[in-house]
Symmetry: C2
Subunit: 382 residues, 2 copies
């Protein structure tokens, strides 16, 4: 027994005060049964001392920290923000804390996060890689803790994953544009050397083929994900390929850039030019006219990833799982004449299992006047 020095109370302090052994203290505090008299004295001593168990010591003994790590390229990106929200909402009720890691889209940093699981500081990882290399697969396969990837992985990869369906998403948007009579639809894509970039391109060409339209390479521009990049791209398109009546953009920022450019030239939206974006971020709802956008289910992907990880941590030793989240088209004023100027739809409102809204004043009637179309989800286990 140490002298009752300064420092916060420990089981030892309580044991001394209650006149029992530290084992009894631990047992009472964890509800493992003791004589009523013992329980009373320990609980009283603990309460008087304001005892709080040392989580670090507990983690060392128990081998679990009750911490999860979420690593993504950029904290600021609204897509990842909604993932964070859902992961948090899923993990918190089970007593897990969330550790945030921004990789700044540096591949080496991603690898480091996976490797650092070996330091036992976190019980599991949800990773959004910018691009998946062979080294990624090797390192993840050897990870000291369960890893779930949000993104596309090769079929044989031994890692759980959740992916978006950007092919279907693009198809939904393109079909919508073409169904409303547009015949010359441009395409502003993000970097093409990524899986989503290639998938969107595929969706675009597929939709054109479906409609019996020819694919004109001059109608496609590849650029950065950026408002000003979107504006520049739109200007370029309008200069080089006159007669464009609609444009699909790989994210909402690009789409808003396109809207700006169109306005600069005196084009009316949607009358002269229909614009559709992707991600269904808050920007889409806020802009004027409100932006038609493809929702790739980032919130749901976050929730599913969290559930996958938690089930692994529960010790369930099932096969590798890979789930695909359906895309959903949210039609607003930028492509349709009869859509309202703004709507009250929030992306988490689309998720029945979502976190309860902390601030009821912020959500009103859900999506009145907003049309949503879902692509069929394909769920496969390999």
């Amino acid at each position: 027994m140490t002298t009752s020095a300064a420092g916060p109370p420990t089981v030892e302090t309580i044991a001394a005060r209650a006149g029992v052994s530290i084992a009894s203290v631990s047992r009472v505090l964890n509800g493992h049964g003791a004589r009523p008299n013992t329980v009373r004295r320990v609980e009283q001593a603990a309460a008087e001392l304001g005892y709080v168990p040392n989580g670090v010591a507990r983690s060392l003994k128990g081998g679990r920290t009750r911490q999860l790590t979420f690593a993504m390229p950029d904290v600021g990106n609204p897509v990842y923000v909604s993932m964070v929200r859902q992961i948090q909402a899923t993990a918190k009720p089970l007593g897990y804390r969330l550790l945030l890691h921004s990789t700044d889209a540096v591949a080496e940093d991603e690898l480091d996060v996976v490797r650092s699981l070996a330091d036992r500081t976190s019980d599991g990882l949800i990773l959004v890689p910018i691009r998946v290399t062979g080294e990624h697969l090797d390192v993840m396969a050897a990870a000291a803790r369960p890893v779930v990837v949000i993104g596309s992985l090769p079929d044989e990869a031994p890692v759980d994953s959740v992916r978006a369906d950007s092919v279907s998403g693009t198809l939904l948007a393109m079909r919508h544009l073409l169904a409303s009579g547009r015949r010359r639809t441009a395409f502003i894509n993000g970097p093409a050397d990524t899986v989503p970039g290639r998938n969107r391109s595929l969706g675009y060409r597929t939709a054109l083929a479906e409609a019996g339209l020819e694919h004109d390479p001059a109608l496609t521009v590849t650029t950065e994900f950026d408002i000003s990049a979107g504006a520049a791209a739109m200007h370029r398109l309008l200069d080089a390929a006159p007669g464009i009546d609609s444009v699909f953009c790989a994210n909402d920022q690009l789409a808003l850039g396109a809207v700006h450019a169109a306005h600069d030239r005196g084009l009316r939206i949607p009358e002269d030019l229909a614009v559709a974006g992707m991600d269904n971020s808050e920007l889409a709802r806020a802009s004027h006219p409100a932006l038609t956008s493809v929702d790739l289910g980032s919130a749901e992907r976050g929730r599913i990833a969290a559930e996958m990880l938690l089930s692994r941590l529960d010790g369930e030793d099932h096969d590798v799982r890979c789930e695909t989240v359906a895309a959903r088209l949210v039609v607003r004023g930028s492509t349709a004449y009869d859509q309202p100027d703004y709507d009250h739809d929030r992306d988490r409102a689309s998720d029945p299992r979502a976190h309860p809204d902390p601030d009821p004043g912020r959500r009103r009637g859900a999506g009145s006047g907003t049309t949503a179309t879902s692509a069929s989800a394909s769920v496969s286990a390999s």
Copy 2:
């Protein structure tokens, strides 16, 4: 010496393999000096085994976890997102991880976060309280680890804090509107029973008084922070008080709602109605016309809070500090005829000490055509 069973390698495993004691292993690994021969053997053994030190054991021994906690009301709010980014950017180079906690604006949850510092799981806390009660002050004063508050605290509070200057911010926006010849400026405020709510109201009335204008209560509406709430409020104002030529809104969402409402009625912006918002979020840049907005320096508040906390953790035992971050007005097309339709200014671009941009393609020429005015910052130590 235990049998070399499964499980990840520990100092013991390495010691056995290198033929030295665990103390030597620890010393070599921490660079505390050893004979070249010992160093070589330990390092080789560690490398061969792929040893990674157990961070939990380390934390238990050292009494520090190298983890910081950031607790705020809502992960999704862009204001907090930019704080997260800066806190992360400041703490990561010093080897600190960031634990995220969303309080969902529940006061009891805020108190729990502070109390849970006693579990030794985090080295310090940055808290954004929704409202500060006496109990908050008591609990923070008794906290087991340093706490920094982002928000306004009573003068005598024994806690470091960083606050925004919403009075000056409101004044900047109002002076700008009045200086451009507007004479009937409405005010859409958020909830009035908070410190920022009262401060904005004060700034509004002060600006009117400065300009020798009478304060007309019919021109002020108090509502929730919400796009649709902003639209509803604007409609109400235009119905009840005709002749309004400008409006200042307590955040960008409200302002965009006002823009929508004005468009619905065929009003031109800025010709018929000038609109200014607050927070200078991405929404302000993205909207059309781009929105004049007051930047309350959320990124900088995050950075300063992180620095304050880190200096406490460095053992510096200075007096309680309270810093106020200056407000800055960013003028864009929604109030000025000659402003560009959009600009490339990003809020972190305004911060010279900010995190380097991970994606150079996203930032172009900084703020060309955008006028920024700073309120003088007052920095005080109590």
